[in-house]
Amino acid sequence: MRVLQLIKSETLLVYGELLRRKQVLLTYIAYPYIMTFFIIFVGSSVGSLENFEAKVGVNPFLFFIAASFNFLVILGIVDDVLWSPIYDDNIGTLPYVLSSTTPWFLRLLVIPIPRLALTMILGFTSLIPIFTYFEGLEGLLTSSLIMGLGGLAGLLLSTFAILLACSISMLMGESWRLLNIVRPLMMILLGIYYPRVLMPLAVRIISYLLPSSHVVDLMLYTLVSERMPEVLRALTWLGAGTALAVAYGPLSYNSTKSLETKKLREGIKT
Protein backbone atom coordinates (compact mmCIF):
# COMPACT_ATOMS: atom_id res chain seq x y z
CA MET A 1 0.00 0.00 0.00
CA ARG A 2 2.76 2.39 1.00
CA VAL A 3 4.85 1.53 -2.06
CA LEU A 4 1.81 2.03 -4.26
CA GLN A 5 1.18 5.47 -2.73
CA LEU A 6 4.84 6.36 -3.24
CA ILE A 7 4.66 5.30 -6.90
CA LYS A 8 1.52 7.42 -7.29
CA SER A 9 3.20 10.48 -5.81
CA GLU A 10 6.37 9.97 -7.89
CA THR A 11 4.11 9.74 -10.94
CA LEU A 12 2.67 13.08 -9.93
CA LEU A 13 6.18 14.50 -9.83
CA VAL A 14 7.11 13.08 -13.26
CA TYR A 15 3.80 14.38 -14.60
CA GLY A 16 4.57 17.85 -13.29
CA GLU A 17 8.23 17.99 -14.13
CA LEU A 18 8.00 16.34 -17.56
CA LEU A 19 4.54 16.76 -18.96
CA ARG A 20 4.26 20.39 -17.87
CA ARG A 21 7.45 21.16 -19.77
CA LYS A 22 6.16 20.47 -23.26
CA GLN A 23 9.55 20.95 -24.94
CA VAL A 24 11.09 18.27 -22.69
CA LEU A 25 8.31 15.86 -23.60
CA LEU A 26 8.78 16.57 -27.32
CA THR A 27 12.53 15.97 -26.99
CA TYR A 28 11.74 12.71 -25.23
CA ILE A 29 9.47 11.56 -28.06
CA ALA A 30 11.92 12.67 -30.72
CA TYR A 31 15.04 11.23 -29.07
CA PRO A 32 14.98 7.68 -30.58
CA TYR A 33 14.41 9.16 -34.04
CA ILE A 34 17.15 11.77 -33.65
CA MET A 35 19.69 9.17 -32.47
CA THR A 36 18.71 6.70 -35.21
CA PHE A 37 18.94 9.21 -38.01
CA PHE A 38 22.18 10.66 -36.66
CA ILE A 39 23.88 7.24 -36.49
CA ILE A 40 22.56 6.20 -39.89
CA PHE A 41 23.61 9.51 -41.41
CA VAL A 42 27.17 9.20 -40.02
CA GLY A 43 27.28 5.46 -40.82
CA SER A 44 26.19 5.82 -44.42
CA SER A 45 28.80 8.48 -45.04
CA VAL A 46 31.54 5.89 -44.32
CA GLY A 47 29.75 2.67 -45.29
CA SER A 48 26.41 1.54 -46.63
CA LEU A 49 23.09 0.41 -45.21
CA GLU A 50 23.26 -2.81 -47.22
CA ASN A 51 26.71 -3.60 -45.87
CA PHE A 52 25.43 -3.15 -42.28
CA GLU A 53 22.46 -5.46 -42.95
CA ALA A 54 24.71 -8.08 -44.55
CA LYS A 55 27.17 -8.02 -41.64
CA VAL A 56 24.80 -7.64 -38.65
CA GLY A 57 21.82 -9.36 -40.18
CA VAL A 58 19.21 -6.74 -39.45
CA ASN A 59 17.83 -3.61 -41.04
CA PRO A 60 19.88 -0.68 -39.57
CA PHE A 61 16.72 1.40 -39.00
CA LEU A 62 15.25 -1.36 -36.84
CA PHE A 63 18.51 -1.97 -35.01
CA PHE A 64 19.16 1.64 -34.12
CA ILE A 65 15.58 2.61 -33.27
CA ALA A 66 15.49 -0.37 -30.86
CA ALA A 67 18.92 0.55 -29.45
CA SER A 68 17.95 4.20 -29.03
CA PHE A 69 14.67 3.28 -27.34
CA ASN A 70 16.55 1.07 -24.92
CA PHE A 71 19.13 3.72 -24.29
CA LEU A 72 16.31 6.13 -23.43
CA VAL A 73 14.96 3.59 -20.94
CA ILE A 74 18.37 3.08 -19.32
CA LEU A 75 19.06 6.82 -19.38
CA GLY A 76 15.80 7.43 -17.53
CA ILE A 77 16.78 5.05 -14.74
CA VAL A 78 20.36 6.29 -14.42
CA ASP A 79 19.34 9.94 -14.59
CA ASP A 80 16.52 9.55 -12.09
CA VAL A 81 18.61 7.75 -9.51
CA LEU A 82 21.83 9.70 -9.99
CA TRP A 83 20.19 13.03 -10.47
CA SER A 84 17.57 12.96 -7.74
CA PRO A 85 19.84 13.49 -4.68
CA ILE A 86 21.61 16.34 -6.50
CA TYR A 87 18.33 17.87 -7.64
CA ASP A 88 16.76 17.55 -4.19
CA ASP A 89 19.86 19.12 -2.68
CA ASN A 90 19.74 22.03 -5.13
CA ILE A 91 16.08 22.89 -4.74
CA GLY A 92 16.08 22.35 -0.99
CA THR A 93 13.76 19.33 -0.83
CA LEU A 94 16.44 16.92 0.45
CA PRO A 95 16.02 17.80 4.17
CA TYR A 96 12.30 17.04 3.94
CA VAL A 97 12.92 13.81 2.05
CA LEU A 98 15.48 12.63 4.60
CA SER A 99 13.49 13.71 7.63
CA SER A 100 10.42 11.89 6.32
CA THR A 101 9.38 8.47 7.55
CA THR A 102 10.09 6.87 4.15
CA PRO A 103 13.51 5.18 3.96
CA TRP A 104 15.70 6.85 1.36
CA PHE A 105 16.52 3.51 -0.26
CA LEU A 106 12.84 2.77 -0.84
CA ARG A 107 12.33 6.17 -2.41
CA LEU A 108 15.34 5.67 -4.71
CA LEU A 109 13.90 2.32 -5.79
CA VAL A 110 10.53 3.86 -6.52
CA ILE A 111 11.70 7.07 -8.24
CA PRO A 112 12.45 5.59 -11.70
CA ILE A 113 9.25 3.55 -12.01
CA PRO A 114 6.92 6.30 -13.30
CA ARG A 115 9.47 7.55 -15.84
CA LEU A 116 10.11 3.98 -16.92
CA ALA A 117 6.37 3.56 -17.51
CA LEU A 118 6.29 6.78 -19.50
CA THR A 119 9.28 5.69 -21.60
CA MET A 120 7.58 2.37 -22.27
CA ILE A 121 4.56 4.27 -23.56
CA LEU A 122 6.92 6.16 -25.86
CA GLY A 123 7.62 2.78 -27.49
CA PHE A 124 4.28 3.32 -29.22
CA THR A 125 5.64 6.44 -30.91
CA SER A 126 9.03 5.01 -31.86
CA LEU A 127 9.43 1.22 -31.93
CA ILE A 128 5.99 0.09 -33.02
CA PRO A 129 5.51 2.45 -36.01
CA ILE A 130 8.99 1.75 -37.44
CA PHE A 131 8.87 -2.02 -36.92
CA THR A 132 5.33 -2.27 -38.28
CA TYR A 133 6.28 -0.18 -41.30
CA PHE A 134 9.24 -2.42 -42.18
CA GLU A 135 7.95 -5.84 -41.08
CA GLY A 136 4.19 -5.67 -40.81
CA LEU A 137 2.43 -7.74 -38.13
CA GLU A 138 5.60 -9.67 -37.29
CA GLY A 139 7.31 -6.36 -36.67
CA LEU A 140 4.52 -5.37 -34.29
CA LEU A 141 5.13 -8.53 -32.25
CA THR A 142 8.92 -8.11 -32.26
CA SER A 143 8.68 -4.47 -31.22
CA SER A 144 6.27 -5.36 -28.40
CA LEU A 145 8.74 -7.95 -27.13
CA ILE A 146 11.59 -5.44 -27.35
CA MET A 147 9.52 -2.90 -25.43
CA GLY A 148 8.91 -5.43 -22.69
CA LEU A 149 12.55 -6.42 -22.53
CA GLY A 150 13.57 -2.75 -22.49
CA GLY A 151 11.35 -2.16 -19.48
CA LEU A 152 12.82 -5.16 -17.72
CA ALA A 153 16.37 -4.01 -18.52
CA GLY A 154 15.50 -0.68 -16.92
CA LEU A 155 13.97 -2.23 -13.81
CA LEU A 156 16.93 -4.57 -13.30
CA LEU A 157 19.32 -1.65 -13.42
CA SER A 158 17.77 0.11 -10.40
CA THR A 159 19.79 -1.50 -7.61
CA PHE A 160 23.06 -1.13 -9.53
CA ALA A 161 22.23 2.50 -10.35
CA ILE A 162 21.62 3.23 -6.65
CA LEU A 163 24.93 1.59 -5.73
CA LEU A 164 26.68 3.61 -8.44
CA ALA A 165 25.01 6.88 -7.43
CA CYS A 166 25.81 6.47 -3.74
CA SER A 167 29.40 5.31 -4.39
CA ILE A 168 30.09 8.26 -6.68
CA SER A 169 28.60 10.67 -4.13
CA MET A 170 30.65 9.12 -1.32
CA LEU A 171 33.93 9.13 -3.19
CA MET A 172 33.77 12.19 -5.38
CA GLY A 173 30.98 14.33 -4.00
CA GLU A 174 27.88 15.16 -5.97
CA SER A 175 27.98 16.88 -9.26
CA TRP A 176 25.63 16.79 -12.21
CA ARG A 177 28.75 16.74 -14.40
CA LEU A 178 29.34 13.13 -13.37
CA LEU A 179 26.19 12.22 -15.25
CA ASN A 180 27.94 13.20 -18.47
CA ILE A 181 30.57 10.54 -17.74
CA VAL A 182 28.19 7.86 -16.53
CA ARG A 183 25.73 8.15 -19.45
CA PRO A 184 28.14 7.30 -22.32
CA LEU A 185 29.82 4.66 -20.15
CA MET A 186 26.47 2.96 -19.67
CA MET A 187 25.78 3.21 -23.37
CA ILE A 188 29.01 1.35 -24.11
CA LEU A 189 29.05 -1.13 -21.23
CA LEU A 190 25.46 -2.30 -21.64
CA GLY A 191 26.13 -3.20 -25.26
CA ILE A 192 23.18 -1.19 -26.51
CA TYR A 193 24.87 0.26 -29.58
CA TYR A 194 27.97 -1.90 -29.55
CA PRO A 195 27.36 -5.65 -29.10
CA ARG A 196 29.15 -7.23 -26.15
CA VAL A 197 30.81 -9.95 -28.23
CA LEU A 198 32.87 -7.28 -29.96
CA MET A 199 34.14 -5.71 -26.75
CA PRO A 200 37.69 -6.15 -25.42
CA LEU A 201 37.84 -8.77 -22.65
CA ALA A 202 38.24 -6.33 -19.72
CA VAL A 203 35.27 -4.25 -20.86
CA ARG A 204 33.26 -7.41 -21.51
CA ILE A 205 33.85 -8.59 -17.91
CA ILE A 206 32.56 -5.28 -16.56
CA SER A 207 29.62 -5.55 -18.91
CA TYR A 208 28.78 -9.02 -17.56
CA LEU A 209 28.48 -7.48 -14.08
CA LEU A 210 25.70 -5.14 -15.16
CA PRO A 211 22.29 -6.79 -14.67
CA SER A 212 20.66 -5.08 -17.65
CA SER A 213 23.40 -6.07 -20.11
CA HIS A 214 22.07 -9.65 -20.14
CA VAL A 215 18.59 -8.48 -21.06
CA VAL A 216 20.08 -6.21 -23.73
CA ASP A 217 21.91 -9.28 -25.08
CA LEU A 218 18.65 -11.21 -25.27
CA MET A 219 17.02 -8.30 -27.02
CA LEU A 220 19.80 -8.00 -29.59
CA TYR A 221 19.58 -11.74 -30.18
CA THR A 222 15.83 -11.48 -30.81
CA LEU A 223 16.40 -8.58 -33.17
CA VAL A 224 19.27 -10.09 -35.14
CA SER A 225 17.96 -13.68 -35.35
CA GLU A 226 14.50 -12.37 -36.28
CA ARG A 227 12.79 -15.06 -34.22
CA MET A 228 11.63 -15.60 -30.68
CA PRO A 229 14.48 -16.73 -28.41
CA GLU A 230 14.48 -20.34 -27.19
CA VAL A 231 13.09 -20.70 -23.66
CA LEU A 232 16.32 -21.97 -22.10
CA ARG A 233 18.40 -19.20 -23.66
CA ALA A 234 15.89 -16.56 -22.58
CA LEU A 235 15.68 -17.91 -19.05
CA THR A 236 19.48 -18.04 -18.73
CA TRP A 237 19.87 -14.40 -19.71
CA LEU A 238 16.91 -13.17 -17.71
CA GLY A 239 17.99 -15.28 -14.73
CA ALA A 240 21.53 -13.88 -14.84
CA GLY A 241 20.21 -10.33 -15.00
CA THR A 242 17.71 -10.85 -12.19
CA ALA A 243 20.24 -12.64 -9.96
CA LEU A 244 22.70 -9.78 -10.37
CA ALA A 245 20.00 -7.15 -9.67
CA VAL A 246 19.02 -9.00 -6.48
CA ALA A 247 22.66 -9.44 -5.46
CA TYR A 248 23.22 -5.68 -5.75
CA GLY A 249 20.21 -5.10 -3.46
CA PRO A 250 21.99 -5.38 -0.07
CA LEU A 251 25.03 -3.54 -1.41
CA SER A 252 22.95 -0.65 -2.69
CA TYR A 253 20.94 -0.58 0.57
CA ASN A 254 24.17 -0.32 2.59
CA SER A 255 25.59 2.31 0.25
CA THR A 256 22.43 4.41 0.75
CA LYS A 257 22.80 4.08 4.51
CA SER A 258 26.49 5.05 4.35
CA LEU A 259 25.75 8.07 2.19
CA GLU A 260 22.94 9.12 4.51
CA THR A 261 25.26 8.87 7.54
CA LYS A 262 27.93 10.85 5.70
CA LYS A 263 25.41 13.54 4.82
CA LEU A 264 24.06 13.65 8.37
CA ARG A 265 27.57 14.02 9.74
CA GLU A 266 28.26 16.97 7.42
CA GLY A 267 24.75 18.36 7.83
CA ILE A 268 22.05 18.60 5.21
CA LYS A 269 22.04 21.90 3.35
CA THR A 270 18.88 23.91 4.03
Binding site: M1, Q5, I91, Y96, L98, S100, T102, L264, I268
Partner: protein
Protein backbone atom coordinates in the same frame (compact mmCIF):
# COMPACT_ATOMS: atom_id res chain seq x y z
CA UNK B 1 5.25 9.50 25.34
CA UNK B 2 7.44 11.51 27.71
CA UNK B 3 6.03 14.59 29.54
CA UNK B 4 8.78 16.72 28.15
CA UNK B 5 8.48 17.23 24.44
CA UNK B 6 12.12 18.10 23.85
CA UNK B 7 15.12 17.55 26.06
CA UNK B 8 18.57 18.65 24.99
CA UNK B 9 21.59 17.83 27.14
CA UNK B 10 25.10 19.20 26.58
CA UNK B 11 24.87 19.11 22.80
CA UNK B 12 28.09 19.85 20.92
CA UNK B 13 28.89 20.08 17.23
CA UNK B 14 32.05 21.06 15.40
CA UNK B 15 32.38 21.63 11.68
CA UNK B 16 35.50 21.36 9.61
CA UNK B 17 35.60 24.12 7.06
CA UNK B 18 38.17 25.24 4.54
CA UNK B 19 39.48 28.75 4.18
CA UNK B 20 40.69 29.33 0.62
CA UNK B 21 44.17 30.74 0.23
CA UNK B 22 44.68 31.49 -3.42
CA UNK B 23 43.74 29.10 -6.23
CA UNK B 24 45.14 25.84 -4.92
CA UNK B 25 45.83 26.24 -1.23
CA UNK B 26 43.31 26.05 1.55
CA UNK B 27 43.52 26.03 5.30
CA UNK B 28 41.40 23.76 7.47
CA UNK B 29 39.39 25.50 10.16
CA UNK B 30 37.36 24.03 12.96
CA UNK B 31 34.19 25.92 13.79
CA UNK B 32 32.54 25.12 17.10
CA UNK B 33 28.87 25.55 16.28
CA UNK B 34 27.52 24.21 19.59
CA UNK B 35 29.56 24.10 22.79
CA UNK B 36 27.26 22.25 25.18
CA UNK B 37 23.71 23.43 24.71
CA UNK B 38 21.05 22.20 27.17
CA UNK B 39 17.36 23.05 27.43
CA UNK B 40 13.88 21.57 27.74
CA UNK B 41 10.61 22.31 25.98
CA UNK B 42 7.21 21.23 27.29
CA UNK B 43 4.08 20.48 25.32
CA UNK B 44 1.96 23.57 24.72
CA UNK B 45 4.99 25.83 24.90
CA UNK B 46 6.59 28.02 22.22
CA UNK B 47 10.29 28.37 22.91
CA UNK B 48 12.24 30.94 20.96
CA UNK B 49 15.83 30.29 20.06
CA UNK B 50 17.17 33.78 19.69
CA UNK B 51 20.63 34.63 18.49
CA UNK B 52 22.70 36.42 15.86
CA UNK B 53 23.67 34.74 12.59
CA UNK B 54 26.07 31.87 13.20
CA UNK B 55 25.05 31.53 16.86
CA UNK B 56 24.00 27.89 16.50
CA UNK B 57 20.23 28.18 16.05
CA UNK B 58 19.99 26.29 12.75
CA UNK B 59 22.53 23.70 13.91
CA UNK B 60 20.33 22.96 16.92
CA UNK B 61 17.21 22.72 14.75
CA UNK B 62 19.00 20.42 12.29
CA UNK B 63 20.11 18.07 15.05
CA UNK B 64 16.59 17.95 16.46
CA UNK B 65 15.22 17.32 12.94
CA UNK B 66 17.54 14.28 12.63
CA UNK B 67 19.35 16.02 9.76
CA UNK B 68 22.67 16.43 11.52
CA UNK B 69 24.58 14.15 13.86
CA UNK B 70 25.92 15.81 17.03
CA UNK B 71 29.50 15.18 18.17
CA UNK B 72 28.44 14.62 21.77
CA UNK B 73 25.53 15.18 24.09
CA UNK B 74 21.97 13.96 23.85
CA UNK B 75 18.75 15.20 22.36
CA UNK B 76 15.37 13.53 22.89
CA UNK B 77 12.03 14.24 21.33
CA UNK B 78 9.00 12.60 22.95
CA UNK B 79 11.50 10.51 24.89
CA UNK B 80 13.23 9.16 21.75
CA UNK B 81 16.89 9.78 21.02
CA UNK B 82 17.34 11.82 17.81
CA UNK B 83 20.38 9.76 16.79
CA UNK B 84 19.60 6.21 17.91
CA UNK B 85 15.84 6.37 17.35
CA UNK B 86 15.69 8.78 14.42
CA UNK B 87 12.87 6.95 12.65
CA UNK B 88 10.63 7.25 15.74
CA UNK B 89 11.55 10.92 16.16
CA UNK B 90 10.65 11.61 12.52
CA UNK B 91 7.09 10.53 13.19
CA UNK B 92 6.76 13.14 15.93
CA UNK B 93 8.19 16.23 14.26
CA UNK B 94 7.05 18.75 11.71
CA UNK B 95 9.91 20.73 10.23
CA UNK B 96 10.09 24.09 8.50
CA UNK B 97 13.67 24.89 7.54
CA UNK B 98 13.35 27.46 4.85
CA UNK B 99 10.67 29.87 3.76
CA UNK B 100 11.62 30.23 0.14
CA UNK B 101 12.53 26.76 -1.10
CA UNK B 102 12.03 23.08 -0.56
CA UNK B 103 9.21 22.38 -3.03
CA UNK B 104 8.89 21.29 -6.63
CA UNK B 105 8.24 24.28 -8.87
CA UNK B 106 6.25 22.45 -11.52
CA UNK B 107 3.77 21.04 -9.02
CA UNK B 108 0.89 22.98 -7.52
CA UNK B 109 0.77 23.69 -3.80
CA UNK B 110 -1.75 20.88 -3.32
CA UNK B 111 0.31 18.40 -5.39
CA UNK B 112 3.42 19.26 -3.41
CA UNK B 113 1.60 18.53 -0.16
CA UNK B 114 0.27 15.25 -1.57
CA UNK B 115 3.81 14.32 -2.58
CA UNK B 116 5.32 15.06 0.83
CA UNK B 117 2.30 13.55 2.59
CA UNK B 118 3.08 10.26 0.83
CA UNK B 119 6.66 10.44 2.04
CA UNK B 120 5.31 10.98 5.55
CA UNK B 121 3.28 7.79 5.29
CA UNK B 122 -0.15 9.26 4.56
CA UNK B 123 -2.32 7.87 1.80
CA UNK B 124 -5.79 7.77 0.28
CA UNK B 125 -8.69 9.64 1.88
CA UNK B 126 -6.65 10.52 4.98
CA UNK B 127 -3.99 12.21 2.85
CA UNK B 128 -6.58 14.19 0.89
CA UNK B 129 -8.35 15.25 4.09
CA UNK B 130 -5.13 16.39 5.78
CA UNK B 131 -3.99 18.32 2.69
CA UNK B 132 -7.36 20.12 2.62
CA UNK B 133 -7.25 20.84 6.34
CA UNK B 134 -3.74 22.27 6.43
CA UNK B 135 -4.25 24.36 3.31
CA UNK B 136 -7.32 25.84 4.94
CA UNK B 137 -5.51 26.33 8.24
CA UNK B 138 -2.61 28.30 6.76
CA UNK B 139 -4.93 30.40 4.61
CA UNK B 140 -3.90 29.12 1.18
CA UNK B 141 -7.51 28.27 0.34
CA UNK B 142 -8.53 31.79 1.23
CA UNK B 143 -5.87 33.06 -1.18
CA UNK B 144 -7.10 30.59 -3.85
CA UNK B 145 -3.54 29.34 -4.19
CA UNK B 146 -4.08 25.59 -3.75
CA UNK B 147 -3.98 24.78 -7.44
CA UNK B 148 -1.41 27.35 -8.49
CA UNK B 149 2.07 26.13 -9.50
CA UNK B 150 4.60 26.56 -6.69
CA UNK B 151 6.88 28.55 -9.00
CA UNK B 152 4.11 31.15 -9.26
CA UNK B 153 3.78 31.54 -5.48
CA UNK B 154 4.68 34.75 -3.64
CA UNK B 155 7.10 34.53 -0.68
CA UNK B 156 4.18 34.73 1.73
CA UNK B 157 2.41 31.83 0.02
CA UNK B 158 5.62 29.80 0.03
CA UNK B 159 6.00 30.32 3.76
CA UNK B 160 2.41 29.26 4.36
CA UNK B 161 2.89 26.16 2.25
CA UNK B 162 6.06 25.33 4.15
CA UNK B 163 4.17 25.60 7.42
CA UNK B 164 1.36 23.50 5.94
CA UNK B 165 3.86 20.75 5.15
CA UNK B 166 5.19 20.85 8.71
CA UNK B 167 1.62 20.34 9.96
CA UNK B 168 0.63 17.62 7.46
CA UNK B 169 0.99 14.65 9.76
CA UNK B 170 -0.32 16.63 12.74
CA UNK B 171 2.93 16.25 14.70
CA UNK B 172 3.09 17.04 18.43
CA UNK B 173 6.42 18.84 17.97
CA UNK B 174 7.15 21.66 15.52
CA UNK B 175 10.65 22.82 14.64
CA UNK B 176 10.48 26.14 12.83
CA UNK B 177 13.65 27.81 11.60
CA UNK B 178 13.07 31.52 11.00
CA UNK B 179 9.53 30.98 9.69
CA UNK B 180 8.83 34.65 9.01
CA UNK B 181 12.13 35.57 7.36
CA UNK B 182 11.49 37.86 4.40
CA UNK B 183 7.71 37.88 4.80
CA UNK B 184 5.47 40.90 4.46
CA UNK B 185 3.89 42.06 7.76
CA UNK B 186 0.51 40.44 7.03
CA UNK B 187 1.95 37.02 6.20
CA UNK B 188 4.35 37.20 9.16
CA UNK B 189 1.45 37.97 11.45
CA UNK B 190 -0.57 35.08 10.06
CA UNK B 191 2.33 32.68 10.70
CA UNK B 192 2.89 34.02 14.24
CA UNK B 193 -0.81 33.81 15.15
CA UNK B 194 -1.00 30.29 13.81
CA UNK B 195 2.04 29.11 15.74
CA UNK B 196 0.75 30.64 18.93
CA UNK B 197 -2.69 29.03 18.53
CA UNK B 198 -1.19 25.62 17.68
CA UNK B 199 0.69 25.62 20.97
CA UNK B 200 -2.24 26.97 22.93
CA UNK B 201 -5.11 24.95 21.47
CA UNK B 202 -3.43 21.80 20.23
CA UNK B 203 -0.80 21.54 22.94
CA UNK B 204 2.05 21.36 20.45
CA UNK B 205 5.61 21.99 21.51
CA UNK B 206 7.25 24.53 19.24
CA UNK B 207 10.84 25.63 18.80
CA UNK B 208 10.91 28.92 16.94
CA UNK B 209 14.22 30.38 15.86
CA UNK B 210 14.42 34.04 15.01
CA UNK B 211 16.62 37.05 15.36
CA UNK B 212 13.66 39.36 15.49
CA UNK B 213 13.22 40.48 19.12
CA UNK B 214 9.78 41.93 18.55
CA UNK B 215 8.62 38.61 17.16
CA UNK B 216 10.19 36.62 19.98
CA UNK B 217 8.41 38.78 22.51
CA UNK B 218 5.08 38.29 20.72
CA UNK B 219 5.21 34.57 20.08
CA UNK B 220 7.43 32.89 22.62
CA UNK B 221 6.51 31.72 26.09
CA UNK B 222 10.17 31.22 26.83
CA UNK B 223 13.29 32.57 25.14
CA UNK B 224 16.72 30.99 24.94
CA UNK B 225 19.44 33.45 24.02
CA UNK B 226 22.13 31.63 22.11
CA UNK B 227 25.47 33.09 21.16
CA UNK B 228 28.61 31.44 19.80
CA UNK B 229 27.20 27.98 20.46
CA UNK B 230 26.16 28.60 24.06
CA UNK B 231 22.87 29.44 25.74
CA UNK B 232 23.78 32.69 27.48
CA UNK B 233 20.41 33.39 29.09
CA UNK B 234 16.96 31.88 29.26
CA UNK B 235 13.52 32.63 30.67
CA UNK B 236 10.25 34.30 29.71
CA UNK B 237 10.69 37.65 27.95
CA UNK B 238 9.70 39.39 31.23
CA UNK B 239 12.17 37.35 33.28
CA UNK B 240 14.94 38.19 30.87
CA UNK B 241 14.15 41.87 31.06
CA UNK B 242 14.16 41.65 34.87
CA UNK B 243 17.64 40.18 34.71
CA UNK B 244 18.83 43.55 33.54
CA UNK B 245 16.33 45.62 35.59
CA UNK B 246 19.06 47.57 37.33
CA UNK B 247 20.19 48.73 33.96
CA UNK B 248 18.56 51.50 31.99
CA UNK B 249 19.02 52.16 28.33
CA UNK B 250 20.20 55.59 27.24
CA UNK B 251 19.35 56.71 23.72
CA UNK B 252 21.41 59.68 22.65
CA UNK B 253 21.16 61.69 19.45
CA UNK B 254 24.52 63.22 18.68
CA UNK B 255 25.22 65.95 16.16
CA UNK B 256 28.50 65.24 14.50
CA UNK B 257 29.47 68.75 13.28
CA UNK B 258 33.28 68.92 13.24
CA UNK B 259 33.74 66.74 16.32
CA UNK B 260 35.47 63.40 16.75
CA UNK B 261 32.75 60.77 17.12
CA UNK B 262 35.14 57.81 17.32
CA UNK B 263 37.09 59.33 20.19
CA UNK B 264 33.80 60.04 22.00
CA UNK B 265 32.63 56.44 21.55
CA UNK B 266 35.87 54.96 22.82
CA UNK B 267 35.71 57.14 25.95
CA UNK B 268 32.01 56.34 26.38
CA UNK B 269 32.92 52.65 26.70
CA UNK B 270 34.26 53.42 30.20
CA UNK B 271 30.89 54.86 31.23
CA UNK B 272 28.53 52.34 29.58
CA UNK B 273 27.64 48.95 31.02
CA UNK B 274 28.06 46.54 28.16
CA UNK B 275 28.10 47.36 24.51
CA UNK B 276 27.39 50.50 22.57
CA UNK B 277 25.24 50.39 19.45
CA UNK B 278 25.32 53.22 16.95
CA UNK B 279 23.00 53.95 14.09
CA UNK B 280 23.48 56.59 11.39
CA UNK B 281 20.31 58.68 11.24
CA UNK B 282 21.50 60.97 8.46
CA UNK B 283 24.68 62.78 7.46
CA UNK B 284 24.65 64.98 10.57
CA UNK B 285 23.08 62.84 13.25
CA UNK B 286 24.00 59.55 14.88
CA UNK B 287 21.95 57.66 17.43
CA UNK B 288 24.01 56.10 20.21
CA UNK B 289 22.42 53.47 22.40
CA UNK B 290 23.99 52.01 25.51
CA UNK B 291 23.11 50.65 28.94
CA UNK B 292 24.01 52.38 32.19
CA UNK B 293 23.38 51.60 35.83
CA UNK B 294 22.65 55.16 36.92
CA UNK B 295 21.55 57.49 34.10
CA UNK B 296 21.43 60.64 36.30
CA UNK B 297 25.07 60.28 37.29
CA UNK B 298 26.28 59.51 33.82
CA UNK B 299 24.52 62.43 32.11
CA UNK B 300 27.05 64.86 33.49
CA UNK B 301 29.97 62.70 32.28
CA UNK B 302 28.44 62.32 28.84
CA UNK B 303 27.95 66.07 28.40
CA UNK B 304 31.59 66.63 29.36
CA UNK B 305 32.80 63.99 26.91
CA UNK B 306 30.75 65.47 24.09
CA UNK B 307 32.12 68.95 24.75
CA UNK B 308 35.71 67.70 24.82
CA UNK B 309 35.28 65.94 21.45
CA UNK B 310 33.51 68.90 19.81
CA UNK B 311 30.12 67.21 19.52
CA UNK B 312 26.68 68.34 20.58
CA UNK B 313 23.64 66.47 21.86
CA UNK B 314 20.28 66.77 20.16
CA UNK B 315 18.30 64.56 22.51
CA UNK B 316 18.79 62.35 25.58
CA UNK B 317 16.31 59.63 26.49
CA UNK B 318 16.28 57.01 29.23
CA UNK B 319 14.10 53.99 28.47
CA UNK B 320 13.30 50.66 30.13
CA UNK B 321 15.30 47.85 28.53
CA UNK B 322 13.56 45.89 25.77
CA UNK B 323 14.27 42.29 24.85
CA UNK B 324 16.62 43.68 22.25
CA UNK B 325 18.63 45.39 24.99
CA UNK B 326 18.73 42.14 26.93
CA UNK B 327 19.92 40.42 23.79
CA UNK B 328 22.60 43.05 23.21
CA UNK B 329 23.66 42.85 26.84
CA UNK B 330 24.11 39.08 26.74
CA UNK B 331 25.40 38.55 23.22
CA UNK B 332 27.89 41.35 23.00
CA UNK B 333 26.03 43.75 20.76
CA UNK B 334 25.76 41.63 17.65
CA UNK B 335 22.28 42.23 16.34
CA UNK B 336 21.44 41.10 12.85
Amino acid sequence: MSDEAIEVIELTKRFLTKKRKGLLKSEKLIVEALKGVSFKVNYGEVVGLLGPNGAGKTTTIKILSTLLLPDSGEARIGGFDVVKEASKVRKLIGVMLSVEKGFYGKLTGRENLVYFGSLYGLSGAELRRRVDEVMDLVGLKELEAEDKLYEEYSTGMKARLSLARALLKDPPVLLLDEPTLGLDPMSARKVRDLVKSLALRENKAVIYTTHNMFEAELVCDKVLLINKGLIVASGTPEELKNKVSDIKTVVLQVRRAAGNLNAFLSKLADVAAGNIVTEELDVDYVEVKFNVRSPEETLDKIVKLLTVEGLSMNSFKVVEPTLEDVFIYFTGGKTS
